[in-house]
Amino acid sequence: MKLTKDKVRLGQDKVKHVAKLANLPLSSEEEEKYPEQLSKILEYVEQLNKVDTSNVEPTFNVSGQSNVVRVDKVGECLNQEEALSNAPKKENARLQTPERSDGGQGFFVTKGVFAE
């Protein structure tokens, strides 16, 4: 069943915007498919609005715990080799990421100044 236009929560522009926020590359096929698929799910979850929660405190955590802290003591770390063992690219014991300043899907939407 196709959603009527007013029920589309996420239009294609919004899908692209959200994908950018999520740093998620989408294929054109996905960009095509997601507005409908995701809007359907959003429409479903919006039935939450039927529940009166005006006097309800939200529950974020069900462990029933509070104030779980540890003493400030140094423990075992990974050694350098272990820390780097899964990194696809590295140089001088540092992990490497290719810089992408295209403002697109990459990390570097903006370049900061990191004066030493």
């Binding site: 698929q37 959003l42 609005n49 899964n86």
Partner: protein, 461 residues
């Protein structure tokens, strides 16, 4: 109490439960070497078609357990069934793995699952679906598909799975084994690759309820690496496990027997409940009025947490870049990113968290009058492979009876209770928070008189 020697003459030793295996080893009826040889032979024979294992340790030495591939194992590939983690070898062990190793268990293999545990059929794995040993054309359930099938097909002594919305209980139900989702915080999640952090919990998948109790005993307890993990360890004596059902009040939520429940499954479940009554339990109808909103709350909370948990997969410190993330995972990242984005907090995450509070309260109110709650694990038995792949919402709806327990943080057990159309059906037993003891006790009493858990699929592959 004097025990007679375990009779295993006419039984293949891979059919033994964990408890029986431990006893047979103690009685030196066979060696660990023989045990592993038998299991590895079976794996070699059946795994190619069942696709339960992604990684097999041919050199296993101790009692063989199968571990869902979302649980980190030092030096052993851990992919979460995703292409994005292809080649990733964790430099550390999960807390549960350390606990198993301390108890003489070792890992015979890492099991297939839905990618990052997102799914309810096992089909979302980047490495192909796991097949149901009861019918090779059916899904195995998910997301702990490989763990369930490894236990059901006797490819391990027991397995660990993880359950965020039913991922231990539902595949256990679909494959005719025992699956336990402990209370949230009972078992350390350290090393468990997070899906939805406020709901995820590791649980045993076993050949008997007694085994589930034993494994929970091993893996539970305080851990200085998971802040949500409570410091009281689960321990149960045989006496307590064997106390029976007599005197217990059993709640049947009317919302769990409504539209959508397959009538044939309903009959199997009702028969099982009748059996519990025969065993001395008293059943009463109860209501969990907000359970109709559980799925909606779940599909706000889960994608939101997923979108954040999946942010670390950037191909810098490990794994591949984000292009290799699969479909269902992408969908959830998109949904979660949207619902957490600026201006939507009150409408989505905060709203869902309030509904979550009401769902939790429903259970608290119900448990004021009953000791356990029973119902189906899933509205249907295992469906055909590929049947629901293009309709995520319909797929989500099959989790309708299991997700509430995760939202409320309470324990849930799936126990084999019969079959419909030749496929296994599981009875779900829910308990109060931290009260795994009572649900295990009921499950144990049930399987002792019915023996459904001893039924094995015919593997004429």
């Amino acid at each position: 109490m004097q025990k007679s020697k375990l009779q295993i003459k006419n039984q293949n030793l891979t059919e033994l439960t964990l408890t029986e295996t431990l006893r047979a080893l103690e009685e030196k009826q066979f060696s660990l070497e023989e045990l592993n040889k038998n299991y590895l032979e079976r794996i070699e024979k059946y795994n190619p078609q069942l696709n339960a294992y992604l990684h097999i340790n041919q050199d296993n030495k101790k009692i063989p357990a199968a571990i869902k591939d979302v649980i980190s194992t030092r030096g052993v590939p851990t992919t979460a069934s995703s292409k994005v983690l292809q080649g990733y070898i964790p430099p550390y062990d999960s807390t549960v793995i350390n606990r198993l190793l301390e108890n003489g268990i070792s890992i015979i293999g890492k099991t297939n699952c839905d990618e990052f545990a997102m799914g309810g059929s096992g089909e979302n794995s980047a490495y192909g679906p796991t097949k149901n040993p009861w019918d090779i054309n059916k899904v195995s359930g998910g997301s702990s598909s490989g763990s369930a099938v490894a236990v059901a097909a006797d490819l391990c002594v027991f397995a660990l799975g993880s359950d965020t919305g039913g991922s231990v209980r539902q595949p256990a139900s679909f494959t005719g084994i025992v699956g336990l989702k402990p209370s949230y915080g009972r078992v350390s999640r350290y090393g468990l690759i997070a899906m939805a952090s406020s709901l995820d919990q590791i649980g045993p998948m076993t050949k008997s309820v007694e085994d589930a109790a034993l494994v929970l005993d091993w893996i539970s307890g305080e851990d200085g690496y998971d802040s949500n993990c409570i410091n009281s360890k689960f321990q149960i004596t045989n006496n307590k496990l064997q106390q029976g059902v007599k005197g217990l009040t059993i709640g049947m939520p009317k919302e769990y027997f409504g539209v959508g429940l397959d009538p044939k499954v309903e009959k199997v479940i009702k028969d099982a409940i009748k059996k519990l009554e025969e065993l001395g339990g008293e059943t009463i109808e109860i209501s969990l009025p907000h359970s109709q909103y559980a799925l909606a709350a779940y599909y706000v909370i889960v994608p939101s947490e997923v979108s954040s948990n999946m942010a670390r997969y950037d191909g810098i410190r490990f794994g591949k870049d984000r292009e290799s993330i699969g479909q269902e995972v992408k969908r959830r990242i998109m949904l979660g990113t949207y619902s957490l984005s600026s201006g939507y907090w009150e409408d989505y995450y905060a709203k869902a968290a309030k509904v979550r509070a009401l769902i939790k309260q429903d259970f608290e109110k119900a448990f004021a009058n009953v000791d356990i709650i029973v119902g189906p694990v899933s509205p249907t038995v295992a469906w055909n492979l590929g049947e629901k792949m293009d309709d995520p919402l319909t797929m989500y709806l099959s989790d309708i009876y299991t997700i509430s327990a995760n939202l409320a943080g309470i324990p849930g057990l799936s126990v084999p209770c019969g079959s419909s159309d030749g496929l296994p059906v599981g009875l779900q037993i829910l308990g109060k928070q931290w009260d795994e003891e009572t649900i295990l006790r009921v499950g144990y009493a049930y399987e002792q008189v019915t023996g459904w858990h001893n039924k094995k699929p015919k593997l004429d592959l």
